[in-house]
Amino acid sequence: MTLQQPISLLIVDDEEPQLKALCVTLEACGYSVHGISSSQEALVLLRRRTFDILLTDLRMPGLDGLGLIAAALEFDPTLVVVVMTGHGTIDTAVGAMKAGALDYILKPFKLSAILPVLERASAMRNLRLRNLELEMRVRDRTAELEAANKELDAFSYSVSHDLRSPLRHIQGYAEMLARSLDGKLEGKQPHYLGVILDSTRRMGALIDNLLEFARLGRAELRMGQVDMEGLVRECISQLHPETEGRTVRWEVGPLPPAAGDRTLLAQVLMNLLSNALKYSRTRAETVVEIGCAPDKEGKGEYYVRDNGVGFDMKYAGRLFGVFQRMHRESEFEGTGIGLANVRSIVNRHGGNVRAEAEPEKGATFHFTVRLHQDADAIGGAK
């Protein structure tokens, strides 16, 4: 059934002399031909073995051509059917094509007329087989992916449940020990206990962060129009506790609405805005600028710029990795999951992230998201 093998033809015609002539001629042309004069028998044969092309008459006693076509295509949807029909029955030929035939040949026909039709039919057969193969490959891959996803589910459940429990116990029992020894600890003992407690707390945070990261990578996107400017303002008001006692100037440029998942995009903004605040807290005045530059492909490149401590671009490659940090824990707290979450969410939206920075001169984080296209909705939705 590949290109190398001869194309196999099943010819069905109740006029035996014509059938025989056709078989001989087409065999000489390199086809592997099987002729049969009864449509009933043809059906039995089609059930037993596959052919590449079915060449059939339409008007036959018993099961007619249309019935044969329908039954044959049910056995093998990739079978290519060509019908032969007499003068004046174009209508029936059209009916046959509607039933799934690829082409028709008007009787009586010359070899020069039938060969191009069969060549086209052969090409179609190969195409259909390839398609089927691709479909099956896609189906296999999808099944593999689904299985992998299920495994990941089980894995994250195991991480969250089975890893967290012993950690909780270490923490709880160390805490109970500390309580019962309250006032009786000497020398470095309080320090030792303190480190145990701090480290378990930190590991708890890491596990929770890792789970959240895994969840984001698989969360279903609920796409819609997202008013990015409103969302930025919402995030800013939620960040109020972090700005208390500081001078912070927010410069929110006009932001076009994006097409995306509102909750997830809010998480992107929260991460970037709280980072901007965190790394600029040593400044007398913090300035955070949020803007957007639409590109040609209908995407918007949003950015968050701060005047904070920045970082050396030499290490920018690691910036968006899981648990990667640019600063020591003692300088700026955090586990280093935030930007990994940002990248994961933006990638899920078909966009990209990048950053520019210079030590002590602030940092700018860019992310692209498809813009919401419906111009009416911008003013009309509210």
Partner: protein, 147 residues
Amino acid sequence: MKLKRILLAEDSPLDVEMTLEALAGNGLANAIDVVNDGVEALDYLFRREAFAARPDENPGLLILDIKMPRLDGLQVLEQVKKAEHLRTIPVVILTASRQEKDLYQSYRLGVNAFVVKPVDFHEFADAIKVLGLFWAILNEPPPRSNS
């Protein structure tokens, strides 16, 4: 005021100990009955097997771990909410992990609260105390219709 008993279904002896420790000091610890899996929890609630002689009184609060041998917490919850004389007992699911499908399933089955055991012991102790205080002391249960 007469203190209602709290039934804690928890298979981890360490979690049991931590829970009792958390409740120590406010009088709630004495009011706790502990069972180690879902089957025992139902035996307790339906007053059968080892609990056949238990006085005919529902606990004021049922705290269920999800992952337990034999019958898990969700299955116990389902049975409790199906039983006419048990369905008014407030049920709190206290679990090690926040799984969305567990959350969804719990609320679908009529849970009253879903609490994830915090890693931090102080938070854990606080959560347990709040649960005990609220459900066993502050919350006014519905009157018993058949007594």
